[in-house]
């Protein structure tokens, strides 16, 4: 957690670090320069010190010679000590360039003190003239010392000229460095601030965008935020929420779909039930009448007629009872056979029916009265219009998951539009239908029953015939769901 805080901290630390480095470097440099300046100044000061000390010595000596008191003598001694001290200090100034001059300088100082001593000695011995001579000599030497000091300073300047120029150059360079450093740091900070702010605001922006999409109702776009801070956590949570909402949404949609299907199913059932109700009285009466007629025909020796009547009765009964319940394919096939016998009686030699039935697949569940309307359709369009009649093939083929029921004829075929109508469920023609159930009703029922669109397939060519294929799954989808 607190990644954003960390980022802010690290930015601040980097800035602090840079500032600290610059501060340390500048302080170090400053110290170095200061030391250098001090050393240089010290050299000149100590050279000057010698001149001053030697002049002091001369003054004090003069005072003493004019006024030989103990105090003045002490003063002279102190001055001499000063001169020696100053001499000791300039010893460190010796270098290759001024070796010669320095040696001379040292000796001059020595000569000065020696001459001063001599003057004092002569003074003590009351040799006034010698003492005065020595004094003037000492004064001259002191002058020479002053001059030599100047010469030495001059040499110093020459020796160190390069160094001084370097110092000047250095300070100029420092100015330039300051400018470059300012530019560099500005550049770096701008860059870092840009990256830093972007790393915070970009995920937020993405999140905002995703939220907008969600608000518009698009739940299918995944929310992806590439970041390693709290925002990404937020985004993940947000994404989970989106997925959940999406799932719930889909579930509701599915439920609504199922409900609608159920409603339709019920409506279709009602429709057919209504139709069958219309004929309810008649069929029962007809059914009984047909049975009596069949017995009568049998008793009168018209066996064929009797069988025919039995078939018609069976068909009628089936039609009445089995519409709202699934039946086995076996039952359907029996009804189909009865129907075909009736039709055979009608068309005699014109109807050729070829049946190929795989007995193993007959246990499969199927909605009632699905095959008969299709065969009827084939009979109506193949046998009826043709003088010579025609062939109808009926096949039941078993495969692993499917049972394929094929009804083929060699009639005049169907127009493509009509096929589309049937498959789309638009056709409501009921003309010439013996059971009152049309082709498209079958299609709809099959689809509802199995919950599959791909149940029926119709192939037809003008003048060559029609091939209707039903693909009946061995397992109903609703079974799985239950």
């Amino acid at each position: 957690m607190n990644r954003i805080q960390k980022k802010i901290w690290s930015l601040t630390l980097v800035v602090l670090f840079i500032m600290a480095i610059i501060w340390i470097a500048l302080t170090y440099y400053n110290q170095k320069t200061q030391d250098q300046y001090n050393a240089i100044l010290q050299r000149y000061l100590s050279l000057n010190e010698v001149t001053v000390a030697s002049q002091d010595l001369i003054t004090d000596l003069n005072d003493y010679l004019l006024q030989p008191s103990e105090a003045n003598l002490t003063q002279v001694d102190a001055s001499k000590a000063n001169v020696q001290d100053a001499k000791g200090e300039i010893l460190i100034l010796k270098n290759k360039d001024n070796e010669f001059a320095m040696a001379n300088y040292m000796n001059l100082i020595d000569s000065l003190t020696e001459t001063a001593d001599r003057s004092l000695m002569h003074h003590k011995q009351q040799e006034t003239e010698a003492s005065t001579n020595d004094f003037s000599e000492a004064a001259r030497i002191s002058n020479y010392i002053s001059e030599t000091t100047l010469t030495l300073i001059d040499t110093e300047l020459k020796t160190y000229e390069r160094l001084y120029r370097q110092v000047i150059e250095q300070s100029n360079e420092l100015k330039r460095l300051g400018i470059w450093l300012l530019l560099l740091i500005t550049f770096l900070l701008l860059l870092m601030t840009y990256w830093f702010s972007k790393s915070i605001t970009k995920p937020v922006q993405k999140l905002t965008q995703s939220a907008n999409e969600l608000a518009k109702g698009r739940f299918d776009l995944p929310i992806k935020v590439e970041s390693n801070d709290e925002i990404s956590f937020l985004a993940e949570t947000f994404d989970r929420m989106r997925v959940n909402i999406n799932n719930l949404f889909l579930e509701i949609q599915e439920k609504a779909q199922l409900e609608r299907e159920l409603q339709q199913n019920k409506l279709l059932l009602k429709e057919s039930q209504l139709k069958s109700l219309q004929n309810q009285i008649n069929p029962h009466f007809l059914f009984n009448t047909l049975n009596i007629m069949s017995k009568k025909a049998y008793l009168e020796g018209a066996e064929e007629t009797s069988d025919l009547l039995v078939s018609v009765a069976g068909l009628l009964r089936y039609n009445l009872k089995r519409l709202d319940k699934p039946v086995t394919l076996h039952e359907e096939v029996i009804v189909l056979k009865q129907y075909m016998e009736i039709q055979k009686a009608r068309f005699t030699e014109r109807l050729h029916l070829h049946m190929e039935i795989d007995e193993a697949s007959l246990s499969v569940q199927i909605p009632g009265l699905t095959l008969q309307p299709i065969i009827e359709n084939a009979v109506i369009h193949t046998i009826e219009p043709s003088e010579d009649g025609g062939n109808i093939w009926f096949r039941i083929l078993d495969s692993e998951n499917l049972v394929t029921i094929e009804i083929e004829d060699d009639g005049q075929g169907m127009v493509q539009e009509k096929i589309a109508q049937i498959l789309g469920g638009d056709s409501e023609q009921t003309e010439g239908q013996s059971t009152g159930i049309g082709f498209s009703n079958v299609v709809k029922r099959l689809r509802l029953f199995y919950g599959l669109e791909d149940v029926i397939e119709i192939q037809s060519m003008q003048g060559k015939g029609t091939n209707v294929k039903l693909k009946i799954p061995k397992k109903r989808r609703n079974d799985e769901n239950d």
Partner: protein, 325 residues
């Protein structure tokens, strides 16, 4: 677009980094060292060559010779002195050198009271050996260890000989020398006079002039006025040569006059090359420098004592106009 931007930024960053580090390097990596402090004591001998004619061709050569020798021997030598025959400054330098307790002094001799006092008393007091070079001061006066330079008497004789050869055994000759009576000039005069004394028809007149330029000019003019017949001029003090030639050329053609000089004047050689002089005595300044330095170093190292008090004479020759060219 974005890519170009990034590349541009990187480039900018690199440039900034480069210049910043370059600059920082210059500031912090600079060599701030002071010149090495010479810790070991200076055991070398310190020699000083002092002249009152610094920056003349002659003395430059002497200095060069001495320096070369000193360097060869590993001894430090400095050349001090004054310019343009400035005697006070010259004496001061000698005094400073003595008070500075140098190990040896090679000096252009100057025959004066002060000089002799310095060399005789001060230098002895501090026990500093002195060698005179080019111009000598006799040992009795200066207590110098030895002399390195030309035989000035011989040089005078050579001039006299040349004069006889050029002018013939008759005529009036003007000799111009210093009123200071420098020892070397006296010797030169002696040489000339001795060279000419066998020729009674040659009248040599000695004019003594003090050292200032005005004096020389007026003296030359006087001579030209008083001795209109003078045919030859000899600048015994070579520094006079320029003025003499200048004054003569103001009035007459210089060519008919026989003018002789020595090469230790600042413009002698130049005048000879221009054809204004008929001949000068060429000395060996570089050898003088060499030999004097060598001798004093030997002396300091106790290698060759005692010295030849009379001095070590270097080569001289007569330089004629043509030879100079």
């Amino acid at each position: 677009m974005r890519k170009t931007g990034i590349v541009l930024l990187c480039f900018l960053g690199l440039v900034l980094f480069y210049f910043t580090f370059q600059s920082a390097g210059k500031v912090f990596r600079s060599n701030w060292e002071m010149p090495e402090h010479a810790i070991e004591p200076v055991n070398q001998h310190r020699l000083i060559l002092i002249t009152k004619n610094l920056d003349t061709p002659f003395w430059d050569q002497v200095a060069q010779g001495a320096r070369e020798q000193a360097q060869k021997e590993g001894v430090s030598l400095e050349v001090w002195g004054s310019y343009g025959n400035n005697q006070d400054e010259f004496l001061k330098k000698i005094e400073v050198a003595i008070y500075s307790k140098v190990d040896g002094i090679i000096v252009q001799g100057m025959d004066s009271e002060e000089f002799n006092e310095l060399t005789k008393i001060k230098a002895s007091f501090y026990n500093i050996p002195i060698i005179t070079v080019a111009n000598d001061v006799p040992i009795e006066k200066s207590l110098r260890r030895t002399y390195v330079g030309s035989d000035q008497y011989l040089a005078g004789q050579m001039i006299a000989k040349q004069l006889l050869a050029d002018m013939g055994p008759a005529g009036e000759v003007v000799l111009m020398s210093d009123s200071n009576q420098e020892y070397y000039q006296k010797q030169r005069l002696q040489g000339i006079q001795d060279g000419l004394k066998d020729y009674p028809d040659i009248h040599a007149v000695n004019v003594e002039i003090s050292d200032s330029r005005e004096q020389i000019i007026s003296a030359t003019q006087d001579v030209l006025n008083q001795k209109p017949d003078a045919e030859a001029f000899i600048a015994v003090n070579a520094d006079f040569t320029g003025v003499i030639v200048q004054e003569i050329s103001k009035r007459f053609q210089v060519e008919p006059y026989y003018i002789y000089s020595f090469d230790d004047g600042s413009d002698s050689l130049q005048l000879l090359e221009q054809g204004k002089l008929d001949g000068i005595i060429g000395q060996s300044p570089k050898t003088m420098g060499n030999v004097s330095a060598e001798l004093i170093i030997k002396l300091l190292r106790d290698e060759e004592v005692p010295f030849d008090k009379e001095g070590y004479l270097t080569d001289i020759r007569m330089l004629k106009e043509k030879e100079a060219r």
